[in-house]
Amino acid sequence: MSAPLSGPGSATQTPGREPARPGLPRTSRTARNHAPITATGLVVKVVLLGLVAGIAIWAAFPLIEAGHWIGLGVLAATTAGLFYLYLSRRHIPAKYLVPGTLFLIAFQVFPVLYTASTAFTNFGDGHRGSKDDAIVAIQTSSVKQVPGSTEYNLSIATKGDPATGSLVFLLSDPKTKEVFAGDAGGLRKLDAADVTVSSLSGKVTAADGYTVLNIGQASGRSDAVTALIVPTDDGAIRSNGLTRAYEGKAARAYDAGCDCVKDSETGKTWSADEKAGSFVAADGERLTQGWKVDVGLKNFSAVLTDPNISKPFFGTLAWNFAFAIGSTGFTFLLGMAIALALHSPRMKGTNFYRVLLILPYAMPSFAMLLVWRDMFNTDFGLVNNLFGLDVDWFGGSWSARIAVLLVQLWLGYPYMFLVATGALQAIPRELTEATSVDGATPWQSFKAVTLPLLLVALSPLLIASFAYNFNNVNAILFTTEGGPFAPDNPRNGATDLLITYTYRLAFGAQGAEFGLAATVSIFIFAIVATVSAISFRRTRKQEEVYS
């Protein structure tokens, strides 16, 4: 999107002029004055800048509503900066770099930073919100009906205008037929002469001095209805929906003085533990509703010291490498072999074969993984039935590993075949012909000419494929689910990748633990980043050798 925005000097480069090299300072005053402004360029510019402004305004309202002034400031500064950049004629390099940088920050840097910051918290089930949220949840969930109290029929009314007037509960007692008006000030008995009570529903339908709301009107003021609590001697009358009310009492209340929650029925107290983000009683009992707190390096030390996590970590890491290398290597070998075979000029009907070979790639891999899982079933699977075997594929560690690699091979080779075919066609035939003139065998010529040239083109793709397979969740979760598991350790299986293992640790038991998951993913990120950095460095060396 940046090219048309840059205005002068890009699309309209006059032929024959030296292409501008990056980093080379240009005295662009002359160039700028010469570059014509095309209608298309202008329209594109206007539309894109209009979009930017539109998105900014669209994003601003929720920010204002939530009072995120820092966010609003960032939004305003970014938008103003973008307008300045593309309306001014200077800062040509920035015009190219800024969009990509913004996307990089939004979709790469921010998630990484967010993950990293989550790793230092106990964010997870039971610890999702703030302490205030937890207190509200504890208090509302302890509201119980006062034993033996009356269930009232409720009509919601206002004094004055239905939309703005202050709310009043008109309560009729179904047994005594008495009618009360209740608001935050308390309960008042109304004179039977002033009210009309429906004999059918038992609800007040009209009352002197009040406007009775219908359900639609009342539901429009739902928050106020829920918030209205009529104090009584034993507790308070609360609405239960829009047609009934009950006298309830919150058994548990938060006391800011002792920073604890007290139960008025049992007298038990739970004190806030800011380190754990929970209310804990003297006997160690926790209230289920907790809140999110910073736990420092606790998650990191858990990963390193918990024997359940750290003991299988290195075994899993080794298999993870084997899986990624195996998936990439075998698919590459098979794909390349087929590409070579079809590349041979003596081969007939190559197009037909190519279409046939692409088929596995054209099918959705999700569905194919599930089909393969069923094909490896011991008793009902196609693999065993076809070959007359009785192998418990996913039941044994090594057979399960072989099975997932076979599935990966089937799913992945068409891609390697495609890219290898493309790369092969880019290698001039003269080179191989020259080697055969020199008396090289086909194998020698392949080894000395074709393969190195292929690798120059395909190395980045192989690295990408490795990185992808290193974290290939689907390939495992849809087939073996990480199994088979040793009888004495249900948390780590023979085909688990680090990522599926993390998933199980974080979400498999006792609800979601995002903090721990973020910590393990930081470890994985470090490993993949190191591997990629080393391989790219090697690739660069290789390119220098052959180019």
Binding site: L51, R89, G129, G216, Y246, Q289, G290, G395, Q510
Partner: protein
């Protein structure tokens, strides 16, 4: 020229921005108009695909009757997780429909509020269902259907309902020898086990998951897995496994258990009401009886699960949500319609009696669940499923029960906070 271009760009940009702004404004406007017409409230309900279809007509009727807008939104995957996450962000629904074993997690995340049902309304429900939605002494949902597994048998292959598991194995072995079936029993396990389906056998063998506190709630501090009773239960289960009778097999998975039964490859299937539709479609003559226990063992108790409506704690229209859940969901007509969308026994006694006559299977499933145990809703239950299932699979495959179950118990204990 330069200034002119910049000017044009700025003006057009502003115009577009204004139109963008106008868009969002016009988005708000109809809503405002509508609310003026409908006088306000909007109720948003989240349910899974099947129930959304059944709920829609009733939700619309409720909206029309009361002059409010009701939206039923289908969440086809991970409804509970999505609900908890969305409600944390304040973008959740007002009402959510789901299984009762979600309650523990939804409560610990402050996502749902207790429901106040008057005693006479409560008494209209199946007692087990009310017990299931009660958590920490509070009622958290209004139940509408119950479900449990039973033994479904092909009456052409096995005319008599087996009294014990041993009877069942004997019949199954005979059928296998006569080449009338290839499997003894279709009880799904897979490589990672299935705690829900094996549970009747586990209880018959004497095992339990949690002890109970004085008031009858499950006690997460008293874990039954790993105790001698649980090991004894799994020793009995091991005898049915691949190294024993071969009645339990890891190759029978959640995906192929029902289809193997409808394909007449096994005479017995342990499954729930959801399997009946498939059996009918395949024209199988079937009958339903309780899952039998071990000879001389305890009663085989299946898990009883309950589907319920919950009021979201952070919904935008709580009063309306309470109104809908306590006064509208409790109507028998709605329960019958939900039953027709998916045939699970209604939790409302009146609705159950109404459909019982037309569907004999219902009574049989309900009979099979009579002695069942309510699926624990405590958050600690989340720690059970995975290790318990894997231990089951390992034991079916021939692993040593004592060692495996002790390890599983340890893992579960370590997960329970």
């Amino acid at each position: 020229m330069r200034i002119r271009t910049a000017g044009v760009v700025a003006v057009l940009g502003l115009a577009l921005a204004a139109s963008g702004c106008g868009d969002s404004g016009s988005d708000d406007k109809p809503a405002a108009d509508q609310s003026a017409k409908a006088t306000g409230g909007k109720l948003v309900i989240w349910a899974d695909d099947k129930r959304t279809a059944a709920l829609k007509p009733f939700a619309e009727e409720f909206g029309k009757e009361n002059g409010v807008t009701v939206e039923v939104q289908a969440v086809s995957k991970d409804l509970q997780t999505n609900f908890v996450t969305a409600s944390q962000q304040g973008s959740g629904p007002d009402v959510v429909v789901g299984a009762h074993d979600w309650i523990g997690n939804m409560v610990q995340n402050g996502a749902i509020d207790p429901v106040q049902l008057p005693a006479e309304q409560k008494s209209g429900f199946n007692e087990t269902a009310i017990k299931a939605v009660t958590f920490n002494g509070q009622l958290y949902g209004v139940p509408y259907a119950t479900e449990n597994v039973a033994l479904i048998r092909n009456t052409e292959l096995a005319p008599e309902a087996p009294k014990t598991i041993e009877d069942l194995v004997a019949t199954g072995k005979k059928l296998k020898a006569e080449k009338k079936a290839t499997e003894i029993l279709c009880l799904q396990s897979g490589q990672n086990g299935d705690a829900y389906h094996i549970y009747p056998l586990y209880t018959s063998g004497g095992g339990n998951l949690f002890g109970t506190t004085a008031n009858g709630d499950y006690d997460p501090k008293d874990l039954g897995v790993g105790k001698p009773e649980s090991i004894a239960a799994f020793q009995k289960i091991a005898k049915l496994g691949e190294k024993g009778d071969g009645a339990l097999k890891r190759s029978i998975t959640p995906e192929n258990a029902i289809s193997t039964f409808t394909g007449k490859k096994c005479a017995f299937l342990v499954s729930g009401p959801w399997a009946v539709a498939d059996a009918k479609k395949a024209n199988i003559k079937y009958d339903i009886s309780p899952v039998p226990g071990f000879a001389g063992g305890k009663e085989a108790q299946p898990f009883v699960g309950v589907q319920a409506f919950y009021v979201a704690a952070k919904g935008k229209n709580k009063a309306l949500a309470q109104e809908f859940v306590t006064n509208y969901v409790t109507k028998p007509e709605l329960a019958v319609a939900l039953y027709k969308a998916e045939p699970r026994p209604p939790a409302l006694t009146a609705a159950f009696d109404q459909v019982k006559g037309e569907d004999a299977d219902l009574a049989k499933f309900s009979e099979a669940g009579k002695n069942g145990q309510v699926l624990p809703a405590i958050p600690a239950m989340a720690a059970i499923w995975d290790p318990f299932g894997k231990a089951e699979a390992a034991i079916i495959g021939g692993a040593d029960p004592a060692k495996t179950i002790t390890a599983a118990g340890k893992t579960i204990q370590g997960q329970i906070k």
